[in-house]
Amino acid sequence: MKYIEEFRNHAAAQALVREIHRISGGRRIRIMEVCGGHTMAIFKYGLPGLLPANIELISGPGCPVCVTSNSFIDHAIELAKDRGTLIATFGDLIRVPGSSSSLQKERGEGADVRICYSPLDALELAKQHPDRNVVFLGVGFETTAPTAAATIHRAAEQGRANFSMLTAFKTMPNAMKALLDGGEVALDAFLCPGHVSVITGTGIYEFIAREYRTPCVVSGFEPLDLLQSILKIIEQIAAGLAKVENQYTRAATLPGNPAAQKLLKEVFHESDADWRGIGTIPRSGLEISDEYARFDARKVFPVKLKPSRENPACICGSIMRGAKRPLDCPLFSKVCTPESPKGACMVSDEGSCATYYKYRRTP
């Protein structure tokens, strides 16, 4: 596997770890990895055990399934109850518990819920089933939103009347700002999401570095990427700097992907968004714009929802804000496991709890 294994090289990793030890010099540094993909890679490669104890990695709100609000799941479940409706979704979402059910349970009861790998597959389903209303559940960040935008764009071109999307797309920068404003966790730096930055460009974090004096390093997903990014953060802190640096230069650029950005602008507009465990964050989401309102399941199939309920013992919210760790949760690995998840963080592969459960439970 050329060009992948180079980023997992043992000697290079050990050299980076030595530098991290040397430059950090015992100073306590708290770094939030915003992206769920980073959390997974950090644990999969056992990085916490390699880093000095004074460097603390804190998982942030970057797992798309985890931050999706209960009311979104409840809405999807209501839609699924209509037998004329076919729900198409990414796999993880069907296991997320809503207020009183999950899509998986509804599927057991006879609802037509199908897993697909791309929103374009859902559009294809709409073509194959002209007598059904196909609703795609669109969740994710700037990384997945462009494919959804392209799909809506194509649906409009095709004049597809039986296709719509229930969306809860989120955007990163203002969520990071909200965490800093909240002041609940003292963060010294951010490891910024690589894939998001490929789309948006690395400039979106400038205001965080400038206004909050918090270093931001855009990182790739291999262990050497992460170690090098951590080293860059520590070098900045040691030098008293706070700037945006791009470690993931093989994919992310300052301007990002203009074609994807144009599509996003055309199909979506910026909106406030409801984050599970965090609440409403201003200008941190994307909603389908009026021009494409006929593809917005929220408008096409409005439903009356009861106020959503969460398991009161579940601390997914605090975990997502970085205030608590999975091991702090009384449910963790006792009643909440990947086989029977009580909270969203245990459902998705990228969720902090699922990752902890899989790779870190007890030493």
Binding site: R8, Y45, P223
Partner: protein
């Protein structure tokens, strides 16, 4: 290939009703291929004589096979059904002797394909000196099965020096694999319809008794052996130490995985350590025997890539730990959920 006298080249419900067509199918397809005197009797059961052994113990196992696709790079359901059951016997330290085969065939199945499957069963059994001595054929309505399902049961005799089992594992023991991990699961996956992956990769489907024999000869105190099929290496290692006071530490850089397997896993988000094998062994042996066992296995074509991948430790009882490529440690848990359905 010859044609069925029932007209056309496909299996009909009449082939499974126990009457004339069933007999004809058995006599024309199965009896000549398996060529065992017990089977040719066409009696209700086979009467077997077992060789005298020091242990005087008989080993008996069964396995059903529902793999899709039926024909895959490196084998087919017939070879898999023979090797799978023989391997279950072999890893106990038994010499496999006899097999049964139970067919569940979907109405409309191509007889030519049935003959191909029977051919590879016969070849695989013959190569191991094993006889197919009894069998059964059922046909179900179209849609009630997916082509062919095969059940095989196997009988062998326990050899002297057979492993005592997972409970005999001791701290410091070495953990050995006989070759690359994940070949079968990934070859099957890549061979499925709708998966547009082209690889040269073949399933490792093979009978491992020759390797077992070599290892047992050089190491009379093998603690435990297993063929890491469903759930892969990670699951097998967990089974060894689950609920015990011992743990296992393995080193990712030592575990052999073919580049093609790594590549496909990388693309699809699989972990090769959870992917099934059908011709590999995992062994736990006393540390001082590890080198000898590895070199004995390397001398055989099925064990060329054999190596030590880790050791048994008192740290972290009941758990398996992986030292990752970059040197960090993490849990290597059992497989939760089904990564790849119907691989065997």
């Amino acid at each position: 290939m010859s044609q069925s006298s029932s007209g056309g080249g496909v299996i009909t419900l009449a082939h499974g009703n126990g009457g004339k067509f069933t007999h004809e199918l058995v006599e024309r397809i199965f009896v000549p291929r398996f060529a065992s005197s017990e089977l040719s009797e066409l009696a209700d059961s086979a009467i077997l004589s077992l060789p005298e052994t020091a242990s005087g113990k008989v080993v008996f196992t069964t396995d059903s096979h529902v793999v899709t696709p039926l024909f895959f790079p490196g084998g087919d359901i017939g070879k898999l059904a023979v090797c799978g059951t023989l391997n279950d016997l072999a890893v106990m330290g038994a010499k496999p002797l006899f097999l049964s085969c139970g067919w569940i065939i979907e109405e409309g199945f191509d007889i030519e394909k049935l003959e191909k499957i029977a051919d590879s069963m016969a070849d695989a059994a013959r190569a191991q000196g094993v006889r197919v001595v009894t069998g059964d054929t059922k046909v179900v309505e179209r849609g009630a099965a997916d082509g062919v399902y095969l059940n095989t049961s196997g009988i062998g005799v326990l050899l002297p020096g057979a492993p005592l089992g997972a409970r005999s594992i001791q701290a410091g023991d070495a953990v050995i694999v006989s070759g690359s991990m994940g070949d079968h699961g990934i070859a099957i996956y890549a061979g499925r319809e709708g998966i547009s992956l082209r690889t040269e990769l073949k399933s490792d489907c093979a009978a491992v008794f020759p390797l077992v024999e070599l290892a047992m000869k050089i190491c009379p105190d093998i603690r435990v052996m297993r063929d890491p099929t469903r759930g892969g290496l990670a699951t097998t290692l967990n089974e060894f130490v689950r609920g015990t006071r011992l743990g296992i530490q393995v080193d990712e850089s030592q575990i052999p995985v073919r580049p093609e397997v790594k590549g496909v896993c990388e693309l699809l988000g699989f972990d090769p350590l959870y992917v099934a094998n059908e011709g590999k062994l995992v062994l736990v042996v006393p540390a001082e025997r590890a080198t000898a066992v590895v070199s004995a296995m390397k001398a055989h074509e099925l064990g060329r890539a054999a190596c030590t991948i880790g050791h048994v430790t008192e740290r972290a009882p009941g758990r398996v730990f992986l030292r990752t490529l970059v040197g960090g440690d993490r849990i290597l848990d059992m497989l939760a959920g089904d990564m790849l359905p119907r691989i065997c």
